[in-house]
């Protein structure tokens, strides 16, 4: 009897996880796509050096972080998958959402502080919890650059890259 109740609770949790989890995931993806379009003008690159190393620029660290948790259904599917090996699609989408979210938050901070270019972007992933409730933190950080004198644009931009650089600048729209 007790075993039956336990099994019932387990099945209920996995079912709730399946329905609520897929709603959460769909909403999150919709929100990510909408914000990725909205922040399309904030450029983020992995390059170690800025495109223009000569002109004076304001540089500051920006970061974005998100702690994301798996749902019971994903954990259950992953546990099954663990028996046979192979791709864990349930966790792949989870990690992808977390990475895109962290990058979006980095871009949001950059824009809030007036920058439209972020270079040297790095990701760092940490496991917060494992077991039946695995959760991960994804942290993105990089250096935001604002060309000096963007308050008075139109002249005195990069000597090296000329007008091409204007695309990164705040002055250009």
């Amino acid at each position: 009897m007790l075993d039956l109740i336990q099994l019932g609770i387990f099945v209920a949790l996995v079912t709730v996880g399946f329905f609520a989890g897929s709603i959460v995931e769909r909403r999150h993806y919709a929100s990510i796509r909408a914000r990725e379009r909205a922040y399309a003008d904030v450029l983020a690159f992995m390059v170690r050096f800025p495109p223009d190393r000569v002109s004076a620029q304001h540089a500051f660290l920006v970061h974005g972080t998100v702690v994301i948790s798996s749902d019971y259904f994903k954990t259950f599917i992953a546990a099954l998958r663990n028996l046979f090996g192979g791709r864990m699609r349930a966790y792949e989408s989870l990690m992808e959402r977390a990475r895109r979210e962290a990058l979006l938050r980095l871009k949001a901070e950059a824009r809030r502080r007036g920058a439209k270019l972020v270079v040297c972007v790095r990701f760092e992933t940490t496991t917060i919890a494992t077991g039946w409730a695995p959760s991960m933190e994804v942290f993105a950080y990089g250096t935001a650059l604002i060309p000096a004198g963007v308050e008075a644009p139109a002249s005195g931009r990069s000597r090296l890259l000329g007008d091409g650089y204007a695309r990164y600048g705040q002055g250009a729209s």
């Binding site: 170690r48 050096f49 660290l61 749902d71 942290f139 950080y141």
Partner: protein
């Protein structure tokens, strides 16, 4: 104080190097947040309480690193890197480290 993970700041010259500066903090999870996170685990998604916790911890680590840089007379920390380690279940160390340097005036 300029904090950046670049190796140089465009248009600025490095006048002096002061070596590595670091700041770290060890944070534990809050029981209330933990219970809420336990419930949230059923449906999945973001654990906002933990996101805020990690955010605060990183800012604290950066602040301590900057304080150390100021104490040696630097005006910038370059090449900043982060590292996170779980020390025990529910406790994590967040470390920020970088090179303290003196830059010329812009």
């Amino acid at each position: 104080m300029i904090v950046s993970n670049l190796e140089l700041i465009p248009g600025r010259r490095i006048l002096a190097h002061y070596g590595i500066v670091q700041g770290s903090t060890v944070r534990a999870k809050h029981v209330g947040k933990d219970i809420f996170a336990g419930l949230k685990n059923i449906v999945g998604g973001e654990l906002r309480g933990y996101t805020e916790l990690m955010q605060e911890a990183r800012e604290e680590a950066i602040a301590r690193m900057v304080a150390e840089a100021e104490s040696v007379g630097a005006n910038a920390v370059l090449n900043v890197r982060f590292a996170t380690t779980s020390i025990a279940v529910g406790a994590a160390e967040i470390l920020a480290y970088g090179s303290a340097v003196k830059l010329d005036e812009a």
